[in-house]
Symmetry: C2
């Protein structure tokens, strides 16, 4: 890593899986780890001190949303994300491209960048490889992402995938030239769908540009687990081993462990918080649908093996009641538990890698994932 | 107080104001104090350990709402409110009568009780003086309230007010006869609008029935502050001095101190949480409308004199942003701060009473209440 104040140390390996330590100016991060999603600079309903209490080490904020509200200039003036929000630890910001292509209307994408009408005021906005770096420098995140062109991994879209991958590389070069802050790490994004050849080429060419870390983009969009693992492994062949690797937007517990098995260090996903709000709770015994009538009188904790506040202080019956009533505390307690489950899962993965028992952990989580909790 | 495990000690007086200690089976409560409203057994969006952290000593739950969902039988089977929710300290439950008369449709009230169609399933329900005691005994609250007939204090409604007050007394007698749990305190409710003669009569007759404490009902419904204070003071003439006194459903900071000045010990109100959700924040300098554009770039805390998490960890600019975005954490942080302000206000009142400086505190709060915070 070239950015000032950053380093990545690999502490142990178990197969391709690795346990590491990513140093940033706002703290060190034990990897592999999960990054809770704080869209507007806040994880929905969960204050910063609670996140620290369940083992969160780094949060992810959405560049596009913060650019719209309250604005990156304002956040920059108030000390960046670390000064503006209650979270003083490391921040990663996405590039905004994914939000724009999924949320915005009247969107056009060309070599210059992405042009669209803001869903807020209908006015024309443009994101370019250069200005998304500028926005993220004002937000002051520890890790910024380049703008990429992301296509779903459709095996029939060979040429389009290759063109999107090549454009992402040209955008990566422009992003690298636009950087002004030496104290912010920037990650490139590998593209190429599930075409292993494209993934390796994309990774090699990105690595040649000399970024601080590398992400896998355009995955978790319908491809099989096997195809995804092959794509990730193919990319890793083209990446420098010590650089941090981030699998964007995935997924279920088994998807995370698939990534870890391939040597991924960082993950993010809205699944734990969103599923929590809908009453789907991850446990060591499988997924639990807390709104189910069978939990109405169940005074046991959501997950007896969990150490979070939800499980230590509350019963399944109480959560069932709160979520059925639409009481906000129910969603919060459920989201907090699910985040703790995800963070704890990667803590377990890290320990297993250090102890050489990662394969056994994977088998155990695989078995639980096909169960419904008792 | 006659119930087992209860006692009320008056520790200091300053004029009619008093600082006391109310002992219950689930903990002692320093009075005067404010009881956060936990409608469905949870203060909206605020977990129990956060409530304890801001000085909450006793919570109020709504009997009618819990009777409908998840049901008092279920809560009773799971250890009552203390076992079912995350709050192990004292609970007070209202009688449900106020909710029914304000929420239910096809409501009829006669000597037997209140009959109505449930807003949930349209089916006929009846609350009687006897069954609201039974429901609250199953909920297992430390303090239960009798069913009362509450009319707004319309000075032209002389005869109706007297009839409602007399009916409330007959219901109080039936409630007293229905009690089965020796370990639950029951409070009577004084009625009579702002007619001082009726208030004193209602208080004397309630006291003659020998309840554990007494509440002022039917106030905070449009009457002047002066008329309310006269009504409360008139009732206190008819009540035994050592028994706890509770002013139901009020109100703004100045209303609470008016009550304390008359010798009230317990308060509850939805104002701090509801106003918080709407971005109205109470501070030592007056009320602050956090959504106002002037706070968009204000990096000072909501209330520099406040010790809550919201004020210690976050800026006005961050709260302005979260509440404008509709981000749940914004409402929670605002409600938490307002509850801390209310709890802190009554802590300050208690200290002032002990030190003989209550009048000075009242003048100070009165002055701030007419200000808008800077």
């Amino acid at each position: 890593m070239n950015a000032e104040g950053y380093a990545m140390e690999i502490e142990a390996r178990d197969g391709a899986a690795r346990a590491g330590r990513l140093i940033t100016p706002h703290g060190a991060i034990n990897t592999p780890t999960f990054m809770p999603v704080a869209t507007y600079g806040a994880v929905r309903g969960i204050p910063a001190h609670e996140l620290a209490g369940i083992g969160a080490q780094i949060l992810l904020a959405n560049t596009y949303h913060l650019h719209e509200r309250p604005g990156d200039e304002l956040i920059g003036d108030l000390g960046g994300l670390h000064g503006f929000t209650g979270w003083r630890g490391p921040w990663l910001t996405d590039s905004g491209g994914y939000q724009v292509t999924s949320l915005a209307h009247r969107m056009t994408l060309d070599e210059e960048g992405v042009t669209f009408a803001s869903p807020l005021d209908g006015k024309r906005r443009q994101l370019t490889p250069e200005n998304v770096i500028g926005i993220q420098e004002r937000l002051g995140s520890d890790i910024a992402m380049i703008l990429d062109q992301c296509l779903p991994p459709d095996p029939d879209a060979g040429l389009a995938l290759e063109q999107a991958m090549e454009r992402t590389l040209r955008w990566a070069e422009r992003a690298a030239s636009a950087r002004k802050r030496p104290d912010q790490a920037v990650f490139a994004i590998v593209q190429g769908g599930v075409n292993e050849g494209l993934r390796t080429r994309s990774a090699r060419a990105s690595a040649a540009l000399g970024f601080d870390g590398y992400a896998h983009g355009g995955l978790g969009l319908g491809e099989s687990r096997e195809a995804r693992q092959d794509a990730v492994s193919a990319a890793h062949e083209g990446l420098p081993s010590p650089a941090p690797r981030y699998l964007m937007g995935l997924g279920r517990p088994v998807d995370l462990l698939d990534g870890v098995a391939c040597g991924v260090d960082l993950f993010d996903c809205v699944v734990p918080t969103r599923n929590g709000r809908h009453g789907l709770l991850f446990t060591h015994q499988g997924v639990l649908h807390i709104k189910n009538a069978r939990y109405k009188t169940d005074d046991s904790p959501v997950d007896p093996a969990c150490d979070c506040i939800t499980c230590r202080s509350h019963s399944r019956a109480y959560l069932n009641h709160l979520i059925r009533c639409g009481e906000a505390l129910g969603s919060q307690l459920a989201a907090l538990h699910n985040l703790r489950f995800y963070l704890g899962l990667l803590e377990r993965a890290r320990r297993a890698i250090v102890e050489g028992g990662f394969a056994a952990l994977r088998t155990e989580v695989e078995a639980a994932s096909s169960e419904r909790a008792a």
